[in-house]
Symmetry: C2
Subunit: 159 residues, 2 copies
């Protein structure tokens, strides 16, 4: 029986994972974003069902919370997830400026169910030439034009 | 003047960055996914404009390519990006199983324009208690129920 707010919202995330994955098509992951003791965004894994490799539970919960709060900044909010976020979701949590993350399972538990992100964590730390996906730098000078134009633009919105 | 297919598609990505960021609301980043010498997905930064912290150019290009190809797997495809992908986009590239990534600017060039992901890269490497966003483990046993149900489900779709 949940007895603290953290346990309550974490159970909500776990319930989303169990409920939505019962069809075998949605992966067994759930997440909620909470502000001031209220759920402002729910998410569950929709990678296969939604044909979107970025549609992890945490990313979906962040997107939904941003839609409901009409902002791209979630400071003041906590993310509850049924499992430790993968590197993609971890980075999204930092970009969203969440205050805190509470999770139930560890990455190794997800691996037991066939969802292994340990390779990605290893690859992030490797220098470009050693990565398993070819990582080619080209045309750096040409690309600078986008940043130069941005820096010169007085109407730019920083974030 | 672009003279190779790589240069051609990279210029396409850079053009998207310049064109869409001229309003000062869309960030100066563009990306395209290419398969068999054809663009199958375009993306540009929509974090502020779309109120979605995950809406980086690369993630949007991946999502659009998956929509157009009706799959969550982009093996056989190359991603061209106006800038080196951030850790979130790097992980999405691995989840999407792209073959290859070609980019123009480096992360340090983005930083010059006010978009700095170096903190995220440092945080990923830190143990949980040392991270600047509180990283709390709770209720691991309860969370296992989602994975246990998944493993027992004969209709589950692995990915």
């Amino acid at each position: 029986m949940p007895s603290t707010p953290d346990q309550h919202f974490l159970e909500h995330a776990i319930d989303l994972a169990i409920r939505h994955s019962s069809d075998g098509v949605h992966g067994p992951f759930g997440a909620v974003v909470v502000r001031d003791e209220s759920v402002v965004g729910e998410g569950w894994n929709q990678v296969v069902a939604g044909r979107d490799p970025s549609a992890h539970a945490e990313i979906n919960a962040i997107r939904n919370a941003c839609r409901s709060l009409e902002t791209h900044v979630l400071s003041g909010c906590t993310l509850y997830s049924s499992c430790e976020p993968c590197p993609m979701c971890l980075a999204a949590i930092y970009w969203a400026r969440l205050d805190r993350i509470v999770f139930a399972c560890r990455a190794e538990d997800a691996s037991r169910a066939g969802f292994d992100d340990s390779k990605i964590l290893r690859e992030i730390k490797l220098p470009w030439p050693e990565r398993s996906i070819a990582w080619n730098e080209l045309g750096r000078e040409s690309g600078q034009r986008a940043f130069d134009a941005w820096i010169r633009n007085p109407s730019r919105v920083e974030y």
